[in-house]
Amino acid sequence: MQEYSNGHQVDLTTRLGTLVLRNPVITASGTYGFGEEYAAYCSPSSLGAITVKGITPLPRLGNPVPRLAETPAGLLNSVGLENPGLEEFINSYLPKLAQLDTAVIVNISGFSLEDYSLMASALEEHSRPKNRDQARSGGIAALEVNISCPNIKHGGMAFGTNPKSAEAVVQAVKRNTTLPVIAKLSPNVTDIAEMAKAVSSGGADIISLINTLLGMSIDIRTQKPVLANKMGGLSGPAIRPVAVRMVYQVYEAVELPLIGMGGIATWEDAVEFMLAGASAVSIGTANFVNPMAPLEILKGLEDYCRQRGYHSVQEIVGLAHG
């Protein structure tokens, strides 16, 4: 690629169907709070998008503590969708989020199809940018449908492990919103490609993957599970090979743009996901380890593309295939 000088600009713009981001680096739901907590370390305005903690129709206390257990290169969590509920989210959080200079993705979870429909239509009203400038920075940029939370008893992951229900949930959301709909897949399935096809039939505009792997840790002193909720979701570098494999498989199964996540901690990891087929990447657990991770990853992605002569970061998407 000698035609490009080493100093050329790399276009970072990331088009996920109608969702256009200034760059492909997103923060993952549940790991970046509501956009404020990490602002001092890693400004939302330098990110492609932020994804807020999963919201449910009613407020939830979530699970009892302990909610965290560390495992080799991994983290088990059983937060259990603690969140202020839809109304409080709209009243207290959304106005602040709308002021951030970044695309805001709202992650929604429910226990029934009605829950999902309800949230989609309530958020729809708050999604319209008030002016042209907000098209990028204000309001809600997209809805991420969490059908894959392993930490709640009913619904949650159950929707995400059955193709029919997954399709139905996505359809319910799609009917009640004009926003781009991201379907977030659970890795706890036999056939991830089948799940991807199902949400694609349901009308998803984008697929994000993976959520956490269902895991467990036992305290040999107390002889009881470490997590009060017994099981939890495994995230972090430990799960990266599983996530990369699933992104690779889903890229071959459907035509939709993908947001890849699961253990991304360095820019090299991000490149790996993009080569596997992700158009954008989401950073979760790595924030806890290194709050600057999203920025370092963005810089590394850009340098990688520049050094290899790509004009746009999107040129590397899916290159590991074929």
């Binding site: 370390y41 979530g62 080799p72 806890f288 709050p291």
Partner: protein, 280 residues
Amino acid sequence: MYLNEKVVENRLVGHPGQAIYKMVLKGQAAQTAQPGQFVHIRVAESFDPLLRRPLSIAGINREREEITIYYRVAGKGTRLLSQIRANEYLSVLGPLGTGFTIPRDGEFLLIAGGIGVFPIYSLMEAVAQPQVKIKLFWGGENKEFLESAGLKHLQDLGIDYEITTLDGSLGQQGLVTDPFRKYLAEVSNSFAGVKDKTKTPPLWAAACGPPGMLKAVTEICLENGIPLEVSLEERMACGVGACLGCVCTVRDAAGNLRRKRACKDGPVFEAKEVVWDAGV
């Protein structure tokens, strides 16, 4: 703040069997550190262990730009930390969290269980004496532990303290709540004659230690009408309020259960709002 702090000192203090270390970090953290806050330290570059480790700020020296930390080797993270040498640099998040309220008058009762004494050290230093009178109640496993965890330091500071050990090898045998309760009874006796309660010096209390102890201290303070702050320990991931991993349960003004984050809203809480053993 996301800092690179220089390790000035990192060494075993006291009996090797107790595995308690003192670490001094030089850098910006000292500038804003408050007693009760903590730092969140990355102990190695590897992803195993993955998470940072929260450690209380036990000493603050703004002039020398140094904070002091005491830690006990509990598992693989603190073991790795103990292998760091002077002049190396550590990735530090902090100071994090909300610290103790520092009283300006009266008597400040401090109750510490085990290594819960560490954050109390910086608190004692921050209190202006003798305007405020300090009295520390500290309970530990045994003499060896107390000696390793800073008994001499207390004596040097000239602090008024009472000690309990579980095995009676030093001080009174039993729980730290025993002398604390006894002391409060004495105080209340000595003021029994004073009708105008505004004339008695105000009492404040702060505690750090295992949950069972904190709960007992809370009950004692509620009975005696003494405002108490407790420092809670929860497993932490982010340390900045983003992951909701470290919550404790409180009852809000309306009587509803709510969660607060130990890392951001705490680790120091008003004891009266904390719901112990929430079970949800």
